[in-house]
Assembly symmetry: D2
Homo-oligomer: 337 residues x 4
């Protein structure tokens, strides 16, 4: 770490920082500059806890050299991880498509969507049974009834299931039915939920929070790995910006960034990432081209009748078309679908 002193910092202030560093069992290396001093710190095994140093008189800024994550990073785990769920492998050579309605629909409709997803080459079926909604008056999902419908989809189609858990207690229930537990964007820093996911034996997919940096996403994953669960998938789903033409701004640069720093697989969600049905296909192609390990898409046999998110849900025919285009781009990337 580097401590940058103010230009007005006195020799005594610099000495106080050096002493504070020594008190932490670390070594300080003062570097006098043109009009201010910086102090390098060495000897730390993990990131230095900077709160106390930052508060010392004369300190202008602190700069971390060591990344704050270790279990999710490539430094000590250089090869890419694959998250394996029976015959489905996420993070390997194959691109994995996940699809389904925003909310779990009644059984018959849900099954029909699932069959279309499977026919198009999808491997994982998505559908929310417990829905985090901005308004208490909006439809909150079918609850456990929805989980049972998902279980039946798995039984009848062989598709793996991904569905969201919304609190630690709820996660136990969800884990009984699902193959992958989804941690939603609004819960990306719900640390109680992340800790519960860390103790689960089910795979976990963490969506990037709508104003989270990619490093914060990696730290959220670090919570799950630190809890003992190494089967974590990340998901870029768009961030909140001033842009008005989409619901969120899909930040595709997050994918090569994660790939360079972490061994975990990462997929993209162009449905939430745009919030606009007409843009989903284009951003799906872009996601595969940028290096995503898969896609998660909202699809429905009749989007206009969907229980929620109808405006960003594509038809199952469009899902099938996205699958074909993705396969072609995957091929160029030396991958397959």
């Amino acid at each position: 770490m580097l401590v940058v002193m103010k230009s007005s910092a006195s020799v005594e202030m610099v000495d106080a920082v050096v002493k504070a560093v020594a008190d932490m069992g670390l070594k300080a290396h003062p570097i006098p500059g043109a009009n201010r001093t910086a102090i390098g710190i060495t000897g730390n095994k993990a990131q230095v806890n900077d709160s106390q140093l930052r508060a010392l008189a004369g300190v202008e800024d602190l700069v971390h050299v060591t990344a704050p994550y270790k279990l999710v990073g490539r430094d000590f785990h250089p090869q890419s991880s694959e998250v394996v769920i029976d015959d489905v492998v996420i993070g390997g050579k194959e691109i994995v498509l996940m699809g389904g309605p925003c909310s779990v629909e009644p059984l018959e409709i849900t099954l029909e969507i699932a069959k279309a997803v499977k026919n198009a080459g999808g491997k994982v079926f998505r559908g929310g049974a417990f829905k985090p909604r901005t308004s208490p008056y909006s439809f909150q999902g079918l609850g456990e009834e929805g989980l049972k419908i998902l279980a039946q989809v798995r039984q009848e189609t062989g598709l793996k299931i991904i569905t969201e858990a919304i609190d630690p207690e709820n996660l136990k229930l969800v884990a009984e039915y699902t193959d992958i537990i989804q941690i939603g964007a609004r819960n990306m820093q719900n640390f109680s939920l992340l800790k519960a996911a860390g103790k689960s034996d089910k795979a976990v997919m963490i969506k990037r929070g709508m104003s989270s940096t990619v490093d914060e996403l990696l730290m959220a994953a670090e919570y799950v790995l630190a809890g003992g669960n190494e089967r974590v998938i990340l998901c870029e789903r768009g961030v909140r910006t001033f842009a008005a033409h989409t619901r969120n701004t899909l930040d595709l640069s997050a994918i090569p960034y994660v790939k360079a720093r972490s061994h975990l697989p990462i997929i993209a969600d162009p449905s939430h990432g745009t919030g606009v049905r007409e843009m989903v296909a284009a951003l799906s192609r872009a996601s595969i081209a940028v290096g995503a390990d898969g896609l998660i898409l909202e699809t429905h046999i009749q989007p206009d009748k969907a229980l929620s998110d109808a405006f960003q849900t594509i038809t199952t025919e469009e899902f099938s078309s996205v699958a074909k285009e993705s396969a072609e781009i995957a091929h160029i990337m030396g991958r397959k679908l």
Copy 2:
């Protein structure tokens, strides 16, 4: 609500929207424009659920006329609410100061800070016992031991206590000890937690999420009121932007906006709102001047020794000085402290 059709929308598409509106039991009023048609919708008692309309062919955009909240709004509750905790009233004529360390410190130190807060005119003591931290390796708070220290502070000083609850199970424990349950910024859309808070008999303070709109903050409060708990305080604590000179951008315009639309009290948090100790006093003055009902500040007898957030924690002497300046500005505003 208004449905804006695309300029390319056919007569059939417009008719389909009119029919869909009628199927919802509402009335549609087509308004033909120069190069496109808009359709007004009336007859709705609450905000129209727009997901299905948005998905219809030819629909360009939807515009809500009715606000999505009702219990927190002034439409049906024009007079301002006061949240009363024994002799402390938040949202009344008096400005309420809350202060204390980021994390609860050992008893002796905590008590000493609390006495300084009280002497400066503070009415509520803050301190985190359960801390949501970006890193699993950061100090996570003293836990229930911290709650016991807070209870002792109340007993010895008479100050009311505010401390954060981090999940529904944890909220029950926190509620046993505290006077005000804090819902942190990262949990503003943790709906399980909001629902649990709605069933509590303790007052609740909700901090604005770091990328939440003010309307989303009001909707979070709507969850608590809809659950039966009307004693809700809002808190502006800064949002995440591109600005680099502060940790967050304190959005003081949120305060007059909330005051105009909601009857709930709202306070400001210049400590998190800037993340810079040197700016806390200036933004505290501005918060009172803009109309906040109070301040919540991180303060410590020795900030450099604080267990967390040292860099944004002011000394108890500075806290006292902020209290004096706030009192003077409150006086101008026709309020007192």
Copy 3:
């Protein structure tokens, strides 16, 4: 347009709006709602100037139904435009690659880069002669000497030239040498410059401002078309967000959005869009896959020696590799390169 009244608006306030609309020669259609009234406006040929209506008592919000642009929109110009510069066509079936150094380098180096760009399949050579720099002490470009070097590149390689103009006077000079005048991101709302570009007989490329909405980008182009110059190319180059892992956030959804609303061609700039050399290839692939009509990339034979932007400049070998990958993706898209 729709005028949304406050729920507290009186009948007199509604009447005053209706009268104001009539005074503008337009027709008002009041739509009484559950707890407030909306007023539809028809009869306008262009977007209604809303400033005065917004200011009337009782007005909560205004909603435009008519898009603010007309010359750049598809409403009256449904087929896509091609910007033709001799044998180079931008916006047609072919993907166009533009490449070159950030700043024009000395002649020998510049020529060597240009030959590599041409060999890789590039059609347009980029290089800044006049550089807008945040610091007055940074290198500001070679000036007219740089323009002469660019002219020599054209003569020796046959590549078309794109270079930036920074003010109306400067634009006249730049137009003497270049084939395409670039309006940089910082000047996207420099309306004097846009007006000057509208009077030029050279093609113009406008980069999206770093905090501009896509509609504002379209309005900037509207200035140039309204001035009489129809040969306009748009460029998505990333916007400013809170994200810390890239210099800008490349907003690829802008491309399908523009394609749906405007007939103008649009290309992508992954060099500025990421600011990170290692990410340029991945985001280039994604840009083609999302539907861009071309790419503009910073490339150099020795990036480490570049006069500016070295950290986001790829080698000419990498440029060649991007060209190959782009050609493969273009093929899937039914295009070629």
Copy 4:
């Protein structure tokens, strides 16, 4: 400066950086860390040009210790500057109020507004003669006719004049009539315009760009001072964020930040900073309380009839009320109005 190497960087890569630093005539200080190396750089008189270093193999990040500005900074100019225009002093003990319509109105109306501004205690009259507008079809201001009206206002009232210049040629014309040349937010990084302002003998006010950091605002001012014009005033006018309840987010923390780092005066613009008439008074109070040297406000005798920005323009009665409240808060701050 500090160069942070990647954990995978080889000894040779570190050596190459050390050599590159030496080639720049500076001194490198390698600091080996737990799992990567950092290299401190000393000997630089100004900020190190980092473009080439950033591009070297194995470099993860660069951290500047020296601030990029010098003329506007307090390091070499510790006392605050006052911008003096005859008897009006900006940046001194007195708070300066500037007011007037968005656009210059016809003479009679303009004069009436100006008299009200003067009666309320205003010292400077604002009004745009040349208006940068998003749409080419919006009213662009009265042009030179507007400047003549402003000159007449000065003659009849004694108020100083501030009005915007929009390009270098236009600046010469504007400078003939005005006392303070305004550089608008959209032109904050129009460096040709800043250079022209640097050569003017008139005072200059620079508004923060809507997505500019405060350091970029200071660098814009550095251009003007480097050109020879030391009479520069800064203005915080709100930045663009995701927030939807205001037109811009007024970032009041910019004011104490600038005060701590720069000797230049800084004022606030709550009219553009909120874009909502009802919020202007509250944010004006907050601006004075946070330490601004003045306010610039849009005011009109009949806001509903204003030629532009009617929705954020306050009445002259409201302006007078803001002046009274500001005077009271100024008094608390040890200032006057």
